[in-house]
Each structure stands twice: as structure tokens, then as C-alpha cells.
Symmetry: C2
Subunit: 124 residues, 2 copies
DNA sequence: AAAAATGTGCGGTTTTTTCCACACATAGGG
DNA sequence: CCCTATGTGTGGAAAAAACCGCACATTTTT
């Protein structure tokens, strides 16, 4: 189930953010310098993995993410939880709130989200 | 600035959890099967990086983590934020609370921690 | 004392990931 | 028509990460 290498993740990041792009466009938006051929090589790996799809428009292929951002975030979070908090995602989030620099406004925002979450759960 | 590969992180995880261990002990507690020589090769990389230290006790070297768990968590969190929430750690945490499965108890616990965090900040 | 167990040091090989050059095709402008 | 720009496909090379065998030394066991 699609896990990504560092570079593959950079590609996914661009596609998640910008939707459907051809290689030259991905290259432009890439977080660092990369040769077109190197990038296309990455894309072909992602294509094999089924993480992206592509469609010929005009004379170029347009790529778009198939693996959702959210499922990737969840997987990576789970991995972090395994390393840092015995596998518990809740404990990981707690830990983050404790150690990260957060403004009072940030924290109040989190509180609001937490409240909403509880409400949602009551509706089930 | 010590960033770790997948395997290196597994080693660090064991050391963070168990303190000072010799290779054979790390090997036992390793999250998967690994040959002693492969593990020692990893340890030597980590030693070069300055992420672990070692001390000869009896006839074996005992390794312990030098890079703190917390700073590694912070770095990794920042990376995740770059990918998933435009670099904002606060936004990442918010996102996690939204999408992760959390029991009502978990959420209340988070709220308590958030409250404490606000209090702490008032004292500054 | 020999055998077995435990460890280290060293010098690689293998696998995975990343990167790239080059040949070829097509469209558009001068 | 020829040149340039823009793409693709292919077949690797280069670099990074992971892995491992074996010789040697010391201690423990029989």
C-alpha cells in the first residue's frame, strides 16, 4: 500500500496542491532543482505503483495524484506514532501539543475543533 | 543536523526506549529480524553522525542515543507540516484531530492538555 | 586444553533510490 | 522547408541505504 520515498513524496505534494500537471509544470513547482528526465523517471515509478494516473492532452501527459493526501497523512502519522508514542495516535497528538510552539490563538482553535469532533461523534 | 533513514530510526527508537544496550540486545528488541552485522553497520553510521555514543563495558560496547527523541519528533513534524499543511505545525495538529479516529476520552484529554498549555504561557 | 559462545573490525556486495543523456517525434514560426 | 521548442521513451549510471560473511580475540564451559 503506497508508501513513498522522499522524492516521490515531493512529487505527490505538488500534485496534491495543483491537480493535473504535465512534467514541465511539476518541474517548475518542484521544491528544489530537478532535471526533467529525473522527474519523469520518478513519475514512471509512481505510475507503476498506481499512485498517480496520467492522461494525454494535446501532446503531453498530464499527471494527477490517485492516492489521496489524507490516507498518506494517516499512514505517516501512524508510523510516527509507532516510533514516538507506542503506536497511539492520540498520544502522539497530545505529545505534539505539549512540545510544539503554539500561539494562544492556535490552541483555542484546536479547542474549537476538538469540541466539534465530540459533537460529531454524538451524532453517531 | 541528524536526520535518519528508516533503519536508523528503528535503531534510535530502541535506544530511546531502553537506554544503554549492546548490539545483541538492540538486535533482540529490534522491530524486525536483522543480522547482527547489519545492525552493527547501522550503529557505526549513527556513531559517525554523532547520533549515538558508545562505551566499552566488559568486552562489549554499550550504545546509547545522543540525539534526543524530542528534537527528532520536532524535526519530523515540521517536515510533515511542510508536506501537508503549508509548513504550519498548528494546522497539521488541527488536521490530525479532524481526521484521526479518537475516542471521546482521547479528545477530552487533549483539551486538558491544551488548557494547561495556555496556563503555562500566561506565566511567561 | 579444546570447544563453544560472545563480540569486534573490516571489507566488501546487494538493493533501492535517484538521476541523467540521448534518440526520436511533432507542432509552430520564420 | 528548416529550425527551435516541447514532449516522450528508453536504457542505463551514480549515489545512498541496507545488508552480510569471515577472520580474529577473549571469555566460558566441558
Amino acid at each position: 500500500m503506497s508508501k513513498f520515498t522522499k522524492s516521490e513524496l515531493e512529487v505527490m505534494q505538488v500534485l496534491w496542491e495543483h491537480g493535473s500537471l504535465k512534467p514541465a509544470e511539476i518541474q517548475e513547482k518542484f521544491p528544489r532543482a530537478i532535471k526533467n528526465s529525473a522527474l519523469r523517471s520518478l513519475l514512471s515509478v509512481l505510475l507503476d505503483k498506481g499512485s498517480v494516473t496520467r492522461e494525454m492532452i494535446g501532446k503531453a501527459y498530464y499527471y494527477k495524484a490517485k492516492t489521496p493526501q489524507q490516507s498518506t497523512l494517516k499512514r505517516m502519522t501512524k508510523q510516527m506514532a509507532n516510533i514516538f508514542s507506542g503506536g497511539s495516535t492520540a498520544a502522539l497528538i497530545a505529545q505534539l501539543i505539549k512540545i510544539e510552539a503554539l500561539s494562544e490563538e492556535d490552541i483555542r482553535e484546536l479547542q474549537t475543533i476538538a469540541k466539534q469532533k465530540i459533537k460529531e461523534q454524538e451524532h453517531e
